[in-house]
Amino acid sequence: MHFVSDTVKINHIDSTDTTFKITNEISTDDLIKSINHVGLISPPILKLKANNRYIVVSGFRRIAACHFLGWGHIDARIVSVDESDLNCFKLSIADNAQNRQLNVIEQAVSISKLSIFFSNDDVALSQESKKLGLNVNTGLIKKLKEINTVHAELKKKIATGVIPLTIGLELGELEHGTAIVFSQIIEELNPTLNHQKEIIRLSKEISRLNNVPMSDIINDCIIADTINDPELDRNQKIKKIRRKLKQIRYPEIVRFETKYFALMQRIKLPESIHLIPPVNFEGNTYSINLVFQNLAQFKDINKILNKMQNHPDFAKIIEKELEDN
């Protein structure tokens, strides 16, 4: 691509034409300070238009900062009027990506603008993006393309990293008010990504199963109270919410597990004996983990095991017949 370096009048630059703009950052305070202090290190890229005027390919904030500082002229790199839009987009993305890490929304804008030139070929799009310093695989491209459908308020939270991209996209499918409520819960409690996914999934499924809006689930099932409970710390709140949702979504499984733990308590196994049931109670293999440091301890464990085999609750556990408990 061919540039010429030149000094142009700032009032000949049309900053309202955002064809090549990919950044959503509007604050220029930091740049104003820096340019004022050391000058303009990296000149913006402009494209020549008719009548000796220019549109911005890259450097909207730099131009705005210089304008604020009262500069009448600015050094710039100029691409010719004949340069293709694709090449200008590439320049814009590369120039931004080389200077800083693009946030998710900027990545989405870049992909959205570039994808016009790659029809549905996400593999080629990914390869080209990587050459420009935008490290996106085809899976991420798919997600980035979906961001356009997300409400602005959520987009902001995704851009600032308050909400992970995958969660933002899931919330984007919900009714706006509900999505915001969930995003607030995530913001407030900051659960792990898996727990965020679980909370949303369980709420969604309960909503579909019982034909109730998702917002009702938040309001009804003590989630709101839990979040505002001053007695609980963040982890306790997350645990309580997950438990409550699980109880509504899987009542029989939770009932069974509760009975199982009640029986286990009655058997009163010491910490040195750990009974492990089959995963999800699906298979039939139980295992026991024994912890001992010497023969005497082993003998003690053995005595307990001998008693345990005649304990009626142990038989119930092994038979998975917990109903009459």
Partner: protein, 364 residues
């Protein structure tokens, strides 16, 4: 059968079955060099399942016509054989595994019937009691609308004494069967479910009443019958609904004409969940109390399955204490707690079913 796009593999253009199907469908077609040409059409299709149900590809089965049913180690399998003559289905059940099984999912009918017949001849020569069905990768009888395939099979099976053919369906396309000499070597079977499940989850299938009427006609023509309560779906009030269907079944069909009844609760590979959510947005079947089973499939929590099966078994036993009931892919714990025995007490599940087949179909 509503086919909007017909593709024909150039290798099978002159096959007799190709000509019959083209005449029946009376639609334009495109000749392709290979399967990839057809698969390519699906690359950017947003609703591949919908398209696949209207796209027919006539081709050759280049692999084996006769295959072992894919079971898993942990759950008890019945050693069933599959006669692989076609793929996919024109009906549309929410729970259908075929939606996520084939990539892309499209109707394929294998017209190299000479090869198929050779495979069957080879099987018959082994003189080993075999249960073989055509309803694993497709519905056995949807194809009757465009090709009298069952006629060839029923006649072929009638001339030997070691293998039985099971035609498993949710259609009522039995007219071609009624006049055939079957020699009791073909079992016609239907999947049954509650009215509610049929209505909400089984699009374009025949009603239960129609299925049972068709079964009665087959019974009158001396065909041995079988019924599959699979997938059993748990929902509030389901026990009563299943009881009603079971009563309806035995009000129409004599227990002694039933070779077997299978029971299988709804299970699915995790990938199917999002397909069902997308394609059947009113369906709630994926929101049961599922856990991941030992074979990686989602299954109802075992204590729930056991309680539910106990009820279903008791409804059947009340009316037909001697009919052979078996579970599709369950373990000994389920068998013991619901039927009171494990298959191994009878030599294993394959043996149990073989014996029932011997009794009803005169095979040995």
């Amino acid at each position: 059968m509503k086919i909007t796009d017909l593709y024909i593999d150039k290798e099978v253009l002159d096959y007799p079955a190709t000509n019959v199907i083209c005449d029946r469908l009376n639609t334009s077609f495109q000749v392709v060099n290979n399967a990839e040409d057809v698969y390519g059409i699906f690359a950017n299709v947003k609703t591949p399942v919908e398209k696949g149900k209207k796209t027919l590809f006539l081709t050759k089965n280049k692999g084996k016509f006769i295959r072992q049913c894919p079971g898993t180690d942990y759950y008890t399998c019945c050693n069933y054989m599959i006669l692989h003559f076609g793929i996919f289905c024109t009906m549309d059940c929410s729970y259908c595994i075929l939606q996520s099984y084939f990539h892309p999912p499209l109707l394929q009918f294998f017209v190299n019937h000479k090869d198929l017949e050779k495979s069957l001849d080879h099987l018959f020569l082994q003189k080993k009691l075999t249960r073989i069905g055509t309803g694993e990768y497709t519905d056995s009888l949807i194809w009757e609308e465009i090709y009298p395939f069952a006629e060839m099979l029923v006649s072929k099976f009638s001339r030997q004494s070691h293998a039985i053919l099971e035609l498993k369906t949710k259609t009522v396309n039995i007219e071609n069967l009624l006049s055939l000499r079957h020699n009791r070597k073909t079992v016609v079977s239907w999947s049954l479910n509650t009215e509610r499940v049929v209505k909400s989850e089984e699009r374009q299938t025949a009603s239960i009443k129609a299925r049972l009427t068709a079964a009665v006609k087959c019974q009158e023509m001396g065909y041995p019958l079988a019924f599959h309560f699979d997938p059993l779906i748990i929902y509030p009030g389901c026990e009563e609904d299943y009881k009603k269907i079971i009563k309806q079944l035995f009000a129409n069909i004599l227990p002694e004409n039933i070779v077997w009844i299978s029971l299988g609760s709804f299970r699915f590979m995790p990938a199917l969940k999002s397909i069902i959510e997308q394609r059947f947005d009113q369906s709630k079947i994926v929101y049961g109390e599922f856990i991941k089973g030992i074979d990686g499939k989602m299954r109802y929590f075992k204590p729930l399955r056991i309680n539910f099966y106990r009820q279903i078994v008791s409804y059947i036993r009340e009316i037909a204490p001697n009919v052979t009931v078996y579970f599709c892919m369950e373990d000994d714990e389920v068998w013991l707690k619901t039927l009171g025995f494990t298959p191994s007490e009878y030599g294993g599940l394959p043996m149990m079913l073989d014996k029932s087949a011997s009794r009803h179909c005169d095979v040995f």
